[in-house]
C-alpha cells in the first residue's frame, strides 16, 4: 500500500463526494465482486425510491459493462494484474446516473471499440433496435469480436446521451479503454 494517510483519505472522499461517486471498485474484477457491488447498487436505488424501470436500466448498464470486462479478460487470458478494472457508479446533480468502467485492452481491440461506439452514437431509436435484433441473431463466436456486441447495444439503447469512450495507450500494444454511460 502507498503512503496515503488520513488527510489523503479525507481528500479522496471529498473528491468522490464532489464527483457524485456512489460506488467505486478498483482491482481484479471477479464474479462475486460484480454481484456484491450489484447488490449494493440495487439497495441504493431502492433507498432512493428510483422508478423500477429506471433502476433496472441502471443496474443493467452496470452488469453489462462489468461482465463485458470479465468476458474480455478471460478470453485474453490476462493475469490478475492485467485483468484489473475500475468500475464507478455516480450520480449527477440533475439526478441522472453515470455508470463508467475502464480496463486494459489490446490496442487493436480498443480502437475497434471506440470506432463502434462512435458509429452507434449516430443511430436513432429504430436503428438501434434493428442493430440489437441483428446482433441477437448473429452466430455466437463471430459476434462481438472486439468484445462488446449485444451488451454495448443494450447499454446504448438505455442511455440518456450517446456513450463516451476513450482510449489511452499505456504500454506496447496495450491501451486503457474506458466507457461511460449516463442513464
Amino acid at each position: 500500500m502507498g503512503t496515503m494517510d488520513a488527510t489523503d483519505l479525507y481528500r479522496l472522499r471529498d473528491s468522490f463526494s464532489r464527483e457524485g461517486i456512489l460506488l467505486c471498485f478498483n482491482g481484479p474484477i471477479s464474479r462475486s465482486i460484480i454481484e456484491e457491488i450489484g447488490e449494493a447498487l440495487k439497495n441504493y436505488l431502492k433507498a432512493e425510491r428510483t422508478q423500477p424501470s429506471a433502476a433496472m436500466d441502471i443496474f443493467g448498464a452496470y452488469i453489462e459493462m462489468s461482465q463485458n470486462i470479465r468476458h474480455y479478460t478471460t478470453r485474453q487470458n490476462y493475469d490478475d494484474r492485467d485483468a484489473s478494472a475500475i468500475v464507478v457508479v455516480g450520480r449527477e446533480p440533475d439526478g441522472a446516473y453515470r455508470v463508467s468502467a475502464g480496463n486494459l485492452v489490446e490496442i487493436a481491440d480498443g480502437m475497434a471499440l471506440v470506432e463502434r461506439i462512435r458509429q452507434l452514437a449516430l443511430l436513432d431509436k429504430a436503428a438501434l433496435k434493428a442493430a440489437y435484433k441483428e446482433q441477437l441473431r448473429a452466430p455466437r463466436p463471430a459476434s462481438s469480436p472486439c468484445g462488446a456486441g449485444l451488451g454495448l447495444l443494450d447499454i446504448a439503447r438505455k442511455a440518456r446521451t450517446p456513450l463516451s469512450a476513450t482510449l489511452i495507450q499505456v504500454a506496447e500494444g496495450r491501451a486503457f479503454f474506458s466507457l461511460c454511460a449516463v442513464i
Binding site: P93, D94, D124, P162
Partner: protein, 261 residues
C-alpha cells in the same frame, strides 16, 4: 372462558383499590402500568381525532379500554390508507402538471422553458466531464407561404407534422424543442461537431422526403439549420446566439442547408 372486556377494567380497578394489597410489591408497578396505559389510549385518541377529523365518532365511555384502542387503531389505519391514496394522486397530478408546463401545446414538443432547463443541465454536465455539446437552431423555409396559401389552420397542421418529423428524424438522446413560431431548438448532448453535422444532415434529408399533402396538394418542405458547439464555461445564451448567426448564414446561403458557427 374469555373475560368480558369491561369487567377486566373493573377487576384491575378493584385490585388497585383493595386495601389488602396496599403494600403488595406488585401493586405500585400495576398502578403505574395502568396509568401509562390510560395515558397512551388518550394520546391515541387525540391522534385519531386529528387524523380523521371528518368523522367524529362518539367516545363510548361504556366501552373498555381495549375496545377503544381497537376502535381508534382501525380509524388510524383507514386514515393512513386514504392518505397514501391521496399522496399517490397528488404525485401523479404534480407529474402531469409539470409535463404540461414543459410542453408546447400545439406540437407536443418540449417548450422553451424545458429547453432552457435541459440546456442548463447539459451545459453543467459538459463542464463537469468535458464532454462536447452541440446546439442547433432549425427554421422551416418559407413557412409564411404555407400559411398564406392554405390558411393558418392548415398551417398549424403542417407544423405539427413537421414537428413529428423532426422528432422522428433525431436520435433518442436529442432534445427537440419548439423555440418560436416555426423555429426549433435541437440539443445534442455528448455529441461532437462532426457527429452533430452528420445527424442534422440526415434530419434535413428526412424533412425533404416528408410526404406532406395539405388539402390534397403535395408540398415539399425544407429547413435551414445553424449549429454551434457549446464552449466550456460560457453562458448558454452565447451558444444560442452563435447558432442563430449560423442559421442566418444558412438562410443567406440559399436555405435547405446546414451552417456551423
Amino acid at each position: 372462558m374469555i373475560e368480558q372486556p369491561s369487567s377486566f377494567d373493573d377487576r384491575i380497578e378493584s385490585l388497585l383499590r383493595d386495601a389488602q394489597y396496599l403494600d403488595h410489591p406488585l401493586r405500585k408497578a400495576l398502578a403505574q402500568l395502568w396509568a401509562q396505559d390510560r395515558e397512551r389510549l388518550e394520546r391515541l385518541e387525540r391522534i385519531s381525532l386529528i387524523a380523521d377529523g371528518y368523522h367524529r365518532i362518539a367516545i363510548d365511555g361504556a366501552k373498555s379500554i381495549n375496545q377503544r384502542y381497537n376502535q381508534h387503531l382501525r380509524r388510524l389505519e383507514k386514515a393512513v390508507r386514504i392518505s397514501d391514496g391521496y399522496q399517490q394522486m397528488m404525485r401523479e397530478l404534480c407529474a402531469k402538471l409539470e409535463a404540461a408546463a414543459h410542453t408546447d401545446q400545439l406540437t407536443g414538443l418540449a417548450n422553451r422553458r424545458l429547453a432552457f432547463k435541459r440546456l442548463g443541465e447539459e451545459a453543467k454536465r459538459t463542464n463537469r466531464h468535458h464532454q462536447p455539446l452541440a446546439l442547433a437552431l432549425l427554421d422551416i423555409d418559407h413557412f409564411k407561404r404555407v400559411n398564406d396559401r392554405f390558411g393558418h389552420y392548415t398551417g398549424d397542421e403542417v407544423l405539427v407534422s413537421f414537428a413529428q418529423a423532426i422528432r422522428n428524424g433525431l436520435r433518442e438522446y436529442d432534445l427537440c424543442a419548439r423555440w418560436g413560431g416555426e423555429e426549433f431548438l435541437i440539443l445534442l448532448p455528448n455529441t461532437a461537431a462532426a457527429a452533430a453535422v452528420a445527424v442534422l444532415h440526415r434530419l434535413q434529408e428526412h424533412i425533404r422526403a416528408l410526404p406532406l399533402a395539405p388539402k390534397g396538394q403535395t408540398l415539399s418542405m425544407t429547413a435551414s439549420i445553424g449549429i454551434a458547439m457549446y464552449r466550456a464555461g460560457e453562458d448558454i445564451s452565447d451558444t444560442i446566439s452563435r447558432a442563430d448567426d449560423a442559421l442566418i448564414a444558412a438562410k443567406r446561403r440559399g436555405r435547405d442547408c446546414c451552417v456551423s458557427a
